[in-house]
Assembly symmetry: C2
Homo-oligomer: 316 residues x 2
């Protein structure tokens, strides 16, 4: 927040209470929302001083006498936002942790509870999609975007993936195609009349996933089926979502939002079926750059650079 600079510091590890779990952190990503929390622009702000990071995986070292849900050696992830995962070890109350299988790759476990859960819920909760149906999304190379591609692929749902034009576009297209993307197009292509040709081979989407805002959303909306839904889960362009009145009245489109943090407060089921996809090789971690904790400044800087297609992940 204004006037504050993140720093690396030594904190003492709290004494283990009877309902506490001593965790050694293994890996923790830097997500856009973590940066927004530091900038003070997020809807939830931790009391300062605070430890950054809302996601990650740790291994249980020791448990208090009344702890029943986890045992030493288990892998755990945060049950909720605000745990502060960018640290090497800590003592957490049992209820702030959820056990995850330890037979999935470390980077998958570290990045499972925010981006893939968001992707999974957005694909499941707003429209009933069947194999052969299509989904359109912008910011398709984001962590969520990559998970959408893979989860949709595993369900037989086709994806139209919108990305910004960039110098190494063919490389990005190739990477997203290798994850299972059906179409990868730029924002510019999205505006062109040739889009009609694309819809000769794929049905118009009933669901659009938006993490950009501004014109990008309006353009995606134009290709949506009547009665389709746009779900907004981010606003990278820092511009409001703009919707022509006619889309509401004559096309009956629905605009909704999704926030994983709020969803988690209600329930927490999707992670287990995601672990199934990981085990089957249908869901991998997003492209990650592993960074040792001491190089956290480099990682934070890299995480806010434009066109970053790789998630910075602190290895602890």
């Amino acid at each position: 927040r204004a006037g504050l600079r993140p720093l690396s510091t030594d904190l003492s590890v709290a004494k283990l209470g009877e309902s506490d779990v001593h965790v050694r952190m293994l890996a923790a990503p830097i997500n856009p929302a973590d940066i927004n929390m530091i900038q003070g622009t997020y809807a939830i702000l931790s009391e300062l001083p605070a430890v950054g990071g809302n996601e990650g995986v740790g291994q249980v070292v020791e448990v208090g006498s009344r702890v029943t849900s986890v045992k030493p050696g288990d892998w755990v992830v945060p049950a909720d936002t605000g745990l502060g995962t960018w640290r090497t070890e800590a003592v957490f109350p049992e209820e702030t942790l959820l056990q995850v299988p330890s037979d999935i790759p470390l980077l998958c476990a570290a990045t499972l509870s925010v981006n893939p859960c968001t992707a999974y819920r957005m694909l499941a909760d707003f429209e009933t999609l069947r194999p052969g149906d299509s989904v359109i999304q912008n910011g398709a190379n984001s962590g969520v975007g990559q998970a959408v591609i893979q989860i949709a692929k595993a369900s037989g749902i086709r994806t139209i993936n919108v990305v910004r034009d960039r110098p190494d576009l063919p490389k990005l297209v190739e990477r997203l195609m290798s994850l299972g993307a059906d179409h990868v197009i730029t924002e510019e292509m999205l505006r062109k009349p040739d889009m009609k040709d694309l819809f000769k081979s794929i049905p118009k989407p009933r669901l659009a996933l938006n993490c950009v805002g501004g014109k990008s959303t309006t353009e995606m909306l134009r290709h949506l089926q009547p009665k389709g839904t746009v779900v907004t889960y981010g606003g990278m362009a820092k511009q409001p979502v703009m919707v022509p009145v006619s889309a509401f009245i004559f096309k009956d489109v629905k605009l909704r939002g999704f926030w994983m943090t709020q969803w988690k407060k209600d329930q927490m089921h999707s992670k287990l079926s995601l672990c199934e996809l990981v085990r089957k090789g249908q869901l991998t971690a997003p492209a990650c750059t592993e960074v040792p904790l001491e190089d956290y400044r480099t990682a934070l800087e890299a995480s806010i650079k434009p066109f970053t297609s790789s998630k910075q992940i602190l290895v602890l």
Copy 2:
């Protein structure tokens, strides 16, 4: 549409077929959507030449031998958009008409099937409102707006009514209050911090009804309860609806649209319960100016003037 001018002309009345109904029109309003159809900006355009008008009430003169749903003397209204009600008489297929009770005032019957039905459905279909709950709407002096005020009042739902500032504001406020409005405020007041005081005596709305678009919608949205719904049914400002990304993500607001024409294609129930409200004196026709058919040009011109609070209704 471009290059076309509406004109008054004599049409021959078609021969009565066995499934037809000969109707003498009694009254037909000029609604904003009728003007849009003439301008060519509506989603449904009649084949030209066409008779204008989509709403109105007529009296059955004669019926074909196979007609069962209506008999001579009955009052009828169009079942669907596009009937062409701005005429003195016509022969219509039976299925294009719906019978309405003839014991309600003529102007109510003539204006029942578009505006009050829109108001009724929007109050019923998007949020479950209970007595004591509140609704906010802009364009509150429109035909729909006036019906919203009265139907909400009859259901114990409180209304916050937004209108544009104008020379005769106190008169408009008084008229809307007399219909049952709880609060009438201008767009300017909506933006001011004093709105907080208003919400000391009335709960924040869970439903916002929008027929304006642009900034007006964004301002209403700010006062909506979390998880509330904005329903767009018009766009008088000719500007898109703009929604901050944070409203979708952190406030979980839903944006929807409503179009009576589409709804009618699916089902048609609400008119009967509206007749009940009319009989009980809880729903009156909007402020109307009765105009003889030969003065249709004056009526059309009056209907597109700014700040027109009176619906032009052709008396046939």
